[in-house]
Symmetry: C2
Subunit: 311 residues, 2 copies
């Protein structure tokens, strides 16, 4: 057991007197609590008049346990293997601390979607709505395989390995067609035909290198190990029937990291146990990253889902 746990969080919008207007958003693998305002990863979705309307709702987002943005993580102490369940459990004392008995919604994409599903199972009724985006009820063999290659690179060399893990990640976040549209076979400006290995010849190579190296400046290699392992261990398939509330499951057509069969698996299991489930498929060429990039279409789906909740 890890105690005490420090949890760093942000809020957007005001918690009302009844403390019944809060929405808890869970971030993905490399995300953080800064879900809105300048530089926020869902700033087009969270704010005044937006899908998660901070004129009405108080949106809360905490840095995950095991991460490296302020909450307790492997940087701070000798850390055990943790699970998505642990990461969710670490945020419940925050709700208690704020005096929130019931949330309007929990929501998240990718790992954040896993956390939203886990919340619904472990704290049934504590959120009226559960929004799970670009996610799965369990990590697939392919999900685990990509994570394990990244971890192996990190174990061999934490800094360079983290860059490699992030490069692999980026390929899986983008669709084949988006990589083709964005880069194709464009040659990096100034690159010579006859080059040294390690220099970037194609633009896609320098893009990945930039993303990989940049990531090492802001992320902790140990957090990457622990969080990816938590994702691998996630398998809530046999527990989904315990959830309560209204569910929204969103899939993006070109997301091959979490293909549609995984979204439908969530939907089918929830329906089989009689839950109220809405399912939205959003057309996008952006791949898994669509949950961060297709904010407009996603906003429409979320807004209409939450509007249905009120009526």
């Amino acid at each position: 057991m890890i105690a005490p746990v420090k949890l760093v969080y942000e809020t957007f919008g005001r918690l009302n007197e009844a403390k019944d207007n809060a929405i808890l958003i869970f971030h993905a693998l490399s995300g953080d609590s800064h879900v809105s305002d300048e530089g926020g990863w869902w700033s087009k979705l969270v704010g005044p008049g937006k899908a998660f309307d901070t004129d009405c709702f108080c949106v809360i987002c905490a840095n995950t346990l095991g991460g490296c943005s302020g909450s307790t993580g492997p940087k701070d102490l000798n850390f055990p293997i943790i699970t998505i369940k642990d990461m969710v459990a670490a945020q419940v004392p925050l709700l208690d601390h704020l005096g929130i008995k019931q949330l309007v919604a929990v929501a998240g994409g990718s790992m954040g979607g896993m956390m939203a599903l886990q919340f619904s199972v472990d704290y049934p009724g504590r959120s009226q709505n559960i929004i799970a985006i670009a996610t799965a009820a369990k990590s697939s063999a392919q999900n685990i395989a990509f994570n394990e290659v990244g971890r192996r690179a990190i174990i061999n060399d934490p800094e360079e390995g983290l860059a490699i893990a992030r490069m692999i990640g980026h390929i899986t976040y983008l669709s084949e067609v988006s990589l083709t549209n964005k880069f194709g076979r464009k040659i990096q400006e100034g690159a010579l035909a006859s080059q040294k290995f390690g220099d970037s010849l194609f633009e896609v190579e320098s893009y990945l290198k930039y993303k990989g190296v940049g990531f090492t400046k802001r992320f902790d290699a140990n957090s990457y190990l622990y969080i990816t392992k938590a994702i691998d261990l996630f398998d809530i398939t046999n527990d989904l029937s315990r959830g309560e509330g209204r569910f929204l499951v969103v899939h993006f057509t070109s997301d091959w990291l979490f293909p549609e069969y995984q979204a439908l698996d969530i939907v089918d299991r929830l329906k089989d146990s009689g839950k109220n489930v809405s399912y939205r498929v959003i057309e996008s060429t952006a791949g898994h990253d669509a949950f961060l990039l297709e904010e407009e279409k996603l906003g429409v789906a979320i807004k209409s889902f939450l509007a249905g909740a009120k009526s």
Copy 2:
């Protein structure tokens, strides 16, 4: 210019007196000349009575320039960046040496398919038939991206990096569904729930580790750099019209490393320049590796294509 070049090759079946019954097969990235007999990578396709029938044909397969199975490669000398064109050109003196003026066919899968297409363009008419399997007229941004991550791992640490590159490769060779069917979330026997990073918890992890480490025993990290770079540089789209002969293009449905649009790109370009092209799509869940695993279905397609050549 690299000279002299040593080329190690094998033959299966007998070259007839007219020297007009030869088929040249090109191997893929990690393949070698041992295309048939015990342990041969296409032994179900190449042999007496098989699709490449060694009762009729003399099948030739050479280790590629740049590789590490005997032919000249970066192990031997200070090696320049080479291309698929170079790798094909290195095999033409072998044909001359054997007195072969015209081949019955050139054939290959993956990189071998690129080489077959390159042969058709650079030596028009020197092969009556061209068989390009699970391949592309040019490497895509995603192809390049995966190769570059592997190269970066190798540059950082040749041995461990080669294992990582191979692990990435293996994920891309298998389909999502084949990984799920083969491994799913099966736990490795003897693995503890609470484990050290680096130990394999899931079977898919130990499979990849085994494949990665095993590869370092038989393959040279520098060859991996040079050959993947040659694959990245391959773009024959504007040259295909120069090819002569009958073409067979084969795609496997679950191959996401070389998706169907890439096969169709070859077919369309060949047809647009008036070539004789057969296109076969083979149902398979095996992913890109189908070109090595679906030998029975592939054999039927090749046999019927070559039979058509004779009539």
